[in-house]
C-alpha cells in the first residue's frame, strides 16, 4: 500500500525526524511505500498533492497540531502521539493497513464517518490551536488566540481602509475632510423625512468626486470593522466546541457589538457560546433525536441561551455602568483638567471600543457639539486628550512588536505592522487583537500609556475641533508638535510596560500562522 505521514513535535529538532525514520523503516520492512512530511524546524517540504491523492491512508504521528491538515482529508486516518512512531512504527503501519481494509470493506460507513467529523478535522477545514491536554490557563489563552487569529484580517482590512479613507478625504476635502467623510455618506437612505445632506454612495456615487472615493473606502472599512467582535466571539467558541460553537459565538458577538459591550463582551459571549454548545453536544439523547442534534437542537438552544444570557443578564448592568460613568464624568467637569485627562486616558484604553471607551469618547464628542455654539475651549481640550489617548494603544503595541519580536506570535507581529497606521489614524481597535489574546498584561499597559498621554495633552493645553481622524486632522490641532510629543511619550510607556510584563510571563501562544522558525522549545 501507499501511505503518507506527518510527524511533528514541540521543539521540532529531534522527535519529528526520529518518528519519520521510524515510520519509513516500518513501512519498508512491511513492504509498503510511505512519504513522510516532517513538520519540524529544518525547513518544510510539503508532500505533493499528487502523492497525497495516490495514498491509501494517512498517518499522523504528532506532538503539535498538523499544519494544513485539510490537505489530507477524506482518507482513512491513523493518528497517534509522535512517540508512538518512534517506539512502535510497525504497530502504526499495521493500524493504517487495518484502517484501509476497514474502509474498503465498508465504504458507506467510512463515507458517513467522514461526513460526521467536526470542521476542525475535516477537509479544507478551519483550524483551532487548542491542545486539550494543556493546563487551563494555557487553554484559555489558546481559545482567545484562535479567536484573535481569525479576527486579525478584519482588523487589518477595516483599519487600513478607514485610514486610507481619511487620507483621501484629507486630500479631497481639505482640513475638514476627515470629519465630513464619517458623517455625510452612507450605503442606505437617505431616510425619510429626507435630510438632504446624507449622500447615498450606492445610488449617487460620482467617480469624479474625491470625497466619494474617500467615503467608499471608509464605508467598506467600517463594514469590515463591524465583524470584529462577532468573529472574535465566534472563533473563541469554535476553539472550545468546534463547529457547533460558531453559531452561538457569532450571534452572541453580534449582539455584544450591537449593545455596545465591546470586545470584552465578545470574549464573554465566545466563552458562553462555546461552553453551552459543548455542553449540549454532549447530551445523551435517544437515537431518534441524534440525527437532528447538529442541525436543529444544538444551534437552536445554544444561540438562544447565549443571546438571552447576554441581553438579560449582561445588558442591564452594562447600561447602568455606562450611564453611571457618563454622569460621573460630567460631574468631574469642574475638576483639575490634568486629572480629567488621566481618567479619560485610562477609560479610552480600558476596552478599546467597549462601553467604557465609548463613554469617554461620547463625553468628548458631545462636548465638541456644545463647543460649536459656546466658547468651550475646555471641551476642545477634552476632545484632544481623548483622541490622543485612543491613538497610543495601537502605536505602543506596534512599537513593542518592532523592538521585541520574540515576545509576540507571528500573527501578532503582522498585526503590529498594521497597528502603526491604525494608531496614527485614531483607530484604537488596532490594539484589540493584542488585548483579546492577552488581556491581563496588554490592557494595563495600554491604560498606563494612555493615562500619561491624556494628562500630558491637558497639561500642554492642546485643543481639537474634530471628533476623529488621528494625524490626518493635525491642521485642526493647536500646537501639534507638543500634541505629537504627548502621543509619543504614551506610546513608549505602553511599549515598555507591555514588554516588561510579557517578558516576565509565559511566551506567546502559537497559531497556524507561525512558521517553522518560530517553533517553541
Amino acid at each position: 500500500m501507499k501511505f503518507v505521514g506527518v510527524t511533528s513535535c514541540p521543539t521540532g529538532i529531534a522527535h519529528t525526524y526520529m518518528a519519520a525514520e521510524g515510520l519509513e523503516q516500518a513501512a519498508r520492512a512491511a513492504g509498503h511505500e510511505i512519504e513522510v512530511e516532517t513538520q519540524g524546524s529544518a525547513g518544510l517540504e510539503p508532500i505533493s498533492p499528487e502523492t497525497i491523492a495516490a495514498a491509501d491512508a494517512v498517518i499522523f504521528a504528532v506532538g503539535v497540531p498538523v499544519r494544513d491538515r485539510g490537505r489530507f482529508a477524506g482518507k482513512p486516518l491513523v493518528e497517534a502521539d509522535v512517540k508512538k512512531a518512534i517506539s512502535d512504527g510497525p504497530g502504526l503501519i499495521a493500524q493504517a493497513v487495518a484502517a484501509v481494509e476497514e474502509a474498503q470493506a465498508n465504504p458507506e460507513a467510512f463515507a458517513e464517518s467522514q461526513a460526521a467529523k467536526p470542521a476542525g478535522s475535516r477537509g479544507g477545514g478551519l483550524v483551532s490551536k487548542v491542545d486539550s491536554s494543556a493546563p487551563v490557563g494555557t487553554r484559555i489563552r489558546q481559545w482567545l488566540m484562535t479567536g484573535v487569529s481569525y479576527m486579525i484580517p478584519f482588523v487589518a482590512a477595516g483599519g487600513i481602509l478607514i485610514a486610507l479613507g481619511f487620507m483621501v478625504a484629507q486630500l479631497a476635502g481639505g482640513k475638514e475632510g476627515a470629519i465630513v467623510v464619517t458623517k455625510l455618506y452612507a450605503l442606505t437612505g437617505p431616510p425619510d423625512p429626507n435630510p438632504t445632506h446624507i449622500i447615498n454612495i450606492v445610488t449617487d456615487f460620482n467617480p469624479a468626486d474625491g470625497m466619494h472615493w474617500a467615503a467608499l473606502l471608509f464605508l467598506v472599512g467600517a463594514a469590515s470593522f463591524s465583524f470584529l467582535v462577532p468573529i472574535l466571539s465566534g472563533f473563541i467558541a469554535f476553539a472550545i466546541a468546534d463547529r457547533p460553537g460558531l453559531a452561538p459565538g457569532i450571534v452572541g458577538g453580534f449582539i455584544a457589538s450591537t449593545i455596545g459591550a465591546g470586545f470584552l463582551g465578545g470574549i464573554a459571549t465566545g466563552l458562553i457560546g462555546g461552553f453551552v454548545a459543548l455542553w449540549i453536544s454532549r447530551w445523551k439523547v435517544p437515537k431518534g433525536v441524534r440525527g437532528v442534534m447538529p442541525v436543529v437542537v444544538i444551534p437552536l438552544l445554544s444561540v438562544l441561551i447565549t443571546g438571552a444570557a447576554l441581553i438579560l443578564i449582561l445588558g442591564r448592568p452594562l447600561k447602568a455602568l455606562t450611564d453611571g460613568l457618563a454622569s460621573w464624568l460630567h460631574g468631574l467637569s469642574g475638576a483639575n483638567l490634568i486629572v480629567l485627562g488621566i481618567i479619560l486616558g485610562l477609560m479610552m484604553a480600558f476596552d478599546m471600543g467597549g462601553p467604557v471607551n465609548k463613554t469617554a469618547y461620547t463625553f468628548a464628542t458631545t462636548g465638541l457639539a456644545a463647543a460649536a455654539t459656546a466658547t468651550g475651549s475646555t471641551n476642545l481640550k477634552v476632545m484632544a486628550a481623548v483622541m490622543a489617548a485612543g491613538m497610543t494603544p495601537p502605536l505602543g503595541l506596534a512599537l513593542a512588536t518592532t523592538v521585541r519580536r520574540r515576545l509576540f506570535s507571528e500573527a501578532e507581529r503582522e498585526n503590529g505592522q498594521a497597528a502603526w497606521l491604525l494608531g496614527a489614524s485614531f483607530i484604537t481597535e488596532g490594539a484589540i487583537p493584542f488585548a483579546a489574546a492577552d488581556p491581563l498584561r496588554v490592557i494595563p499597559s495600554c491604560m498606563l500609556g494612555s493615562a500619561f498621554t491624556g494628562g500630558l495633552v491637558m497639561a500642554f493645553g492642546n485643543t481639537l475641533r474634530a471628533p476623529h481622524g488621528g494625524i490626518w486632522v493635525t491642521p485642526l490641532i493647536s500646537s501639534p508638535l507638543l500634541y505629537l510629543l504627548a502621543i509619543a511619550i504614551g506610546m513608549v510607556i505602553t511599549a515598555a510596560a507591555v514588554i516588561a510584563l510579557k517578558a516576565a510571563g509565559p511566551g506567546p501562544v502559537k497559531t497556524e500562522l507561525d512558521t517553522a522558525e518560530a517553533v517553541t522549545v
Binding site: 521543539t11 529538532i13 529531534a14 522527535h15 526520529m18 525514520e21 524546524s41 522549545v521
Partner: protein, 149 residues
C-alpha cells in the same frame, strides 16, 4: 564547525538522575564555548523535558532544546553503563544525546540535527556508539554517519 568534538563525549556518565546527567553534558558544551549561559540553557532543556520526558525505548535519552544561549548546533554524547532513568517505559537510558540548537539557526544547521535524529533510529548507529572504545571513535562515527554521510 563540527557537530561534536572529543571534549563533548563523556563515556562514563555516572550521575544520580537525568537532571544531573544533563548538567554534566551541558557543562561540556559550555567549556567548549557552544553554550554561553549554562543555567539559561539548562532551564530551556528542562522546560522541554517537563513537557514530556525525552527518554525513548531502547535505552536512549535525548534531552534537547532550541535556546538563545546556544552558539551553534552541537551534540554532546554521554554513555551511562549503569543506566539513568529518563522517563521511558522500558527502563533507564544508557545512551544520552544532548542536542543543542541555536534559537535562530539556519536551515542547513538544523538539517544536520534532523539527520542526527534519523540516525538515532538505526540500530547499527546505536550499536557502534555503544561499543566505541574511546571518544575519538564516537566522534568519527557521528561525523561519518551524520555530517558526511
Amino acid at each position: 564547525m563540527s557537530l561534536i568534538t572529543e571534549n563533548l563525549v563523556v563515556l562514563n556518565l555516572d550521575s544520580p538522575d537525568r537532571h544531573a546527567a544533563t548538567r554534566v553534558l551541558a557543562q561540556a558544551l559550555a567549556d567548549e564555548g557552544r553554550v554561553t549561559d549554562l543555567d539559561g540553557f539548562l532551564a530551556d532543556v528542562r522546560k522541554r523535558e517537563e513537557q514530556m520526558p525525552t527518554g525513548l525505548p531502547g535505552g536512549i535519552g535525548i534531552p534537547h532544546a532550541r535556546s538563545a544561549h546556544v552558539t551553534e548546533p552541537t551534540l554532546a554524547f554521554g554513555r551511562a553503563p549503569q543506566g539513568i532513568d529518563w522517563g521511558a517505559e522500558d527502563g533507564p537510558a544508557t545512551l544520552i544525546f544532548l542536542i543543542a540548537a541555536p534559537e535562530g539557526g539556519g536551515d542547513d544547521h538544523l538539517k544536520i540535527l534532523a539527520a542526527l535524529a534519523r540516525r538515532l533510529m538505526r540500530t547499527e548507529f546505536r550499536e557502534s556508539l555503544m561499543n566505541a572504545p574511546d571518544a575519538t571513535t564516537v566522534v568519527d562515527v557521528v561525523t561519518r554517519e551524520v555530517v558526511n554521510p
